[in-house]
Structures are given as C-alpha cells and as structure tokens.
C-alpha cells in the first residue's frame, strides 16, 4: 500500500531522515518508535508532503507520489493526524469534521460525519461546541475523526498519545485497536513504545534519522536490548 525507498530529508545542512525504507501493507497497523529527535515527525511530514524529500521515492498504491503536495496526497488516499492534534480551535467540532471532508461530495460528507459521531460518541454531544474548549482526549478523537473524514486508504498518526492523561492514553490505544479491527491501514509514530507494540502488527525502530531495527511487533517487544540501546529506557514504559 505504502512504500518508502531510500528516503532522505534535509533541513539546510542537517539530514533529519537518512536513507529510510519501509513498507505498510493494506490492513496492517505498523508503528514507528524511537527516541526524541530521531526524525520520526520529519519522516511523517515528508511522506504527507509537508516537506520535500531530498532523495528517495514514496509509492502509494503502486503510484509514484514522491514530492506531492499535502492536498494531493490526501486525494491520493493518505491522511495524517499531525503532532499536537492541530485542531482548528476557533471552529466548532462539526466544522472541524467538515473541513476533514472537504474533498468529499456533500452527500458523502454527511454520511462520513454520521459515521464519525458513531465512532466517537463523545463528539456527538459536542458537535456545536467550540473545539478549542475540548479536553485533550476529546481533541485527539476529533483530530483522528477529522482525518478519517477523507476516508483515507492509509492513515498516518503522529504521537496520538502525546500529552494525554494516562486514562486517556488507554482510550487512544483502544481506538487504534478498534480501527485495526475495522480493517484500517495505519502507520503510527509513538513514544509510548511498549504500549504501541502491543497493538501493532509490525514495527520499525528509528534513531538519528535511520531505521535501526524492524520486525513483527511482538518480537520487537520481547527484545530488552533494543529498549536499552535505542530507546534509552528499560521495559519501554516511559
């Protein structure tokens, strides 16, 4: 579904993503874990089109989409839930969802809106509320719902549990599990490595801009050495 080959992203003289290759198959939940500053967010931003790669190739559904602008990537079927959620705080919850469905025809947009309020009951009660006043957990659900409004073939998520209270972190992982069961293709960046590995099919470990390990999530979760060497934490629960 999504194929990345030899991807390089530079900021001026700094190379933030070095020769990264990875694959996400249809229906898979794949995660990318690694310490702060590993280049995970840069990698996602490059895939989604917010940053231009210096070299390499991005293929979506057998189509070469390297260097496409974000709005074109979205139409090609790839959506990103950005880091820090980036909810439109002046908008109502409903308007946030509508913006997510801006590429859909009006009737389909309404259908998707109905699907989202079923998937996220908490949003249903707050459709007319200003989004800036949502709690962190509600805002995260809105951010994910907003991205799903484009009915993407692949959904990228950047640190969905970041800054949330522990009980809300659980909600996010429950949601990822639900999305997985419903057959969504997900590529998730997470710092909460152990917790993420428990819900993912496969995983990549990134450090200093490079992929340093990959494999089935369960196998990686069992490798204590990996956590100590690359993630700088034992047991992986930050």
């Amino acid at each position: 579904m999504l194929d990345i080959e030899s991807l390089i992203t530079r900021y001026g003289t700094i190379t933030a993503v070095r020769d990264v290759a990875l694959t996400v198959q249809a229906g898979e939940v794949v995660c990318l874990i690694g310490p702060n500053g590993a280049g995970k967010t840069t990698l996602l931003a490059t895939i989604a089109g917010l940053l231009k790669p210096s070299a390499g190739r991005v293929t979506l559904d057998n189509k070469n989409v390297t260097g496409w602008a974000p709005d074109r990537m979205l139409r090609a079927g790839l959506a990103l839930v950005p880091e820090h959620r980036r909810i439109f705080s002046d908008f109502t919850v409903r308007e946030n969802l509508l913006v997510g469905g801006v590429t859909q025809p009006a009737s389909r947009r309404q259908e998707l809106l109905d699907e989202m309020v079923t998937l996220f009951p908490v949003l249903k009660e707050r459709l007319s509320a200003q989004a800036g006043y949502l709690s962190g957990g509600e805002a995260q659900q809105l951010a994910i719902g907003r991205a799903l409004m484009s009915d993407p073939a692949v959904l990228l998520m950047d640190e969905p549990s970041l800054g949330l209270a522990p009980v809300l972190v659980e909600q996010v992982f429950d949601l990822i599990t639900r999305l997985r069961i419903s057959g969504r293709t997900l590529f998730v960046v997470e710092q909460n490595a152990q917790r993420m590995l428990a819900v993912a099919d496969r995983a990549y470990v990134m450090r200093s801009g490079e992929i340093v390990a990959d494999g089935p999530a369960a196998q990686l979760a069992a490798r204590e050495d990996l956590f100590e060497t690359y993630l700088g934490q034992s047991g992986g629960n930050a």
């Binding site: 006043y133 907003r146 800054g163």
Partner: protein, 295 residues
C-alpha cells in the same frame, strides 16, 4: 442630540466603507500573513475604469457593477503576477512585494496615462437629504450603510455557511493543517483575493461616487484607512476589521465636527495619536484573536 445622531449616521457611512476595505485586507492577512499595501490599487484601477466608462458615455448603473468585476480581476491578477511568487517567504519579503506592486501600478498610470487627476461626474443624488422632523439625513450615508450591511451579511454567510468559507477560515487559522485536510493552497488564496476584490469593489463604488476623480494615487488614502482600520481591529480578526472600520469612521466624524474652526485639518494627526494610545494599552487591537488549547 439631533446633531449627534446625524454625526453618528455620517460616521457609520464613512466607517462602512473603511470596514469593507479593512475586511479585504484582513482576509488576505488571514490566509497569507501579508499586509497588502497594494489593496488601494484596486481602487485606483476602479477609478480609471469609471473615468473611461464615463468618457464612453456609460452611467453609474452600468459602472457600479463593472467596478466590482474590475476590482476582482485586478486582485486576482496581482495575486497571480506578484504574491504567488513570494508565498511562504518571510512576512517582510511579502510586505516589500506589496509596496512594490503599489508603486509599480502608480508608476504605470503616471507613465502611460497622466500624473494629473481626471474628473468624472458624481451622481446627482449623493447630495440629497431626507428630512425626518428636525433630522436631516444624507441619502448617500444611508446608501453606504445599507450596501455595507448587505455586503457584510453576504460575506458572513459565505464564511460561515459554505465549504469555501470553512476552507478559508481553516487556512487562516492553520495553513499547513488545512493543506493536510486537502484544501488547495492556490484555490483558497485566489478565493481570498476574489473576496477582497469584491469588498474593495463595493467600497470603490461609494468612494468614487464621492470623490469623482481618478488619479495614480487615488487608492492611497482608501488603502491607508483600510490598513489602519484592520490594525485597530486587531489584524487577523475579521470581525475586528469591521469594528475597526466603523470605529475609525465614527472617530473621524466626531473629531471633525468638534475641532474648532481652522483646525479640522488636524483630524488625521489626532486619529493617529489615538491609535498610538490604543496600541499602548491594547497592542493586540480591539479584538483579541483567541487561541484556546487544553491538554
């Protein structure tokens, strides 16, 4: 009391035009972070269009809608020729570009038309007054207030109720995230320029009806008033721009009528002083653009 009511209506008439100009500037600032000092060129081009159309025998009923179309086309052309190439550049670069467009358009008119102002007839009814009891109201002010209201309501409907409006507001709040949602940068920015052109076009009709002249610098004063009003309201806030325009119009009229004879020329100076004071106490302008976020 009667006098005050008349002054307020006079001020609203003035302020309505400022509000339309300021709103156009605020819309562009919202999506591009550009303070468009070339906004007045829409008025300049509209002024020459009016002059030429009059010379060709057309009347205001034909000229008024044509002015709106011309203002929109001018806005779109300026975006395409100039601002598209500096999109995403530092704010200062865009500011300089807008100055460049401002002076370039001015120079083109000086070189290829004339440095002199050219007169065209003003509609006869603009000096008419209606008397209601002791109150005498200028028909022109009432026309401006009505046209401003209709235009603002239309703009409000567009921004709140259409997908284009939602996209425009989304781009104004967070451009990158809007692009991630599939909003096309070119389309939303062009749309913002079209909207600013419509607003400037409506303002131009009334501005030109009152001034009755076209010159290379015809747009300077309206542009300054628009930028000032947008700043007073708090750049980036659309409702602030409208409020800023109305406030500026009211303050001007109240000052002119109260300053002792011979000192009315100080109005602009005093207005700037008041604005400076406003920014000492409220640097963010009248309306604060709130960004609430909870974790």
């Amino acid at each position: 009391m009667i006098e005050l009511i008349q002054q307020i209506i006079d001020g609203l008439g003035r302020g309505g035009i400022y509000a339309l100009l300021a709103l156009g500037i605020a819309v562009i600032f919202g999506v591009m972070h550009l303070i468009n000092f070339a906004h007045g060129e829409l008025i300049t081009v509209s002024a020459y269009t009016s002059y030429w159309l009059f010379a060709s025998g057309f009347n205001w009923w034909f000229i008024a809608p044509t002015v709106i179309v011309v203002a929109v086309l001018t806005a779109v052309i300026i975006e395409f020729v100039a601002f598209r190439w500096v999109r995403g550049a530092p704010d200062f670069t865009m500011l300089m570009t807008s100055f460049g467009v401002h002076f370039l358009v001015q120079a083109l008119f000086v070189m290829y038309v004339s440095a002199n102002f050219r007169q065209f007839p003003r509609p006869g009814w603009i000096f008419d007054t209606w008397r209601i009891g002791d109150l005498s109201l200028e028909v022109f002010d009432l026309a401006v207030i009505a046209a401003t209201l209709v235009t603002l309501l239309g703009t409000y409907w567009l921004l709140q109720r259409t997908m284009f409006g939602v996209s425009l507001r989304a781009a104004a709040e967070d451009f990158d995230t809007a692009r991630l949602m599939g909003i096309r940068s070119n389309r939303v920015i062009r749309g913002a320029f079209v909207l600013s052109g419509v607003l400037a076009g409506v303002a131009a009709i009334f501005w030109l009806m009152r001034s009755g002249q076209a010159g290379p610098t015809a747009g300077l004063n309206p542009m300054l008033k628009g930028v000032l009003a947008a700043l007073i309201g708090g750049l980036g806030s659309l409702s602030g721009a409208v409020l800023g325009g109305i406030t500026l119009g009211l303050v001007e009229v109240l000052l002119i009528s109260r300053l002792p004879g011979g000192t009315a020329g100080l109005t602009d100076g005093i207005v700037f002083l008041l604005i400076a004071l406003l920014f000492v106490f409220r640097p963010q302008g009248l309306i604060t653009v709130r960004r609430v976020e909870r974790v």
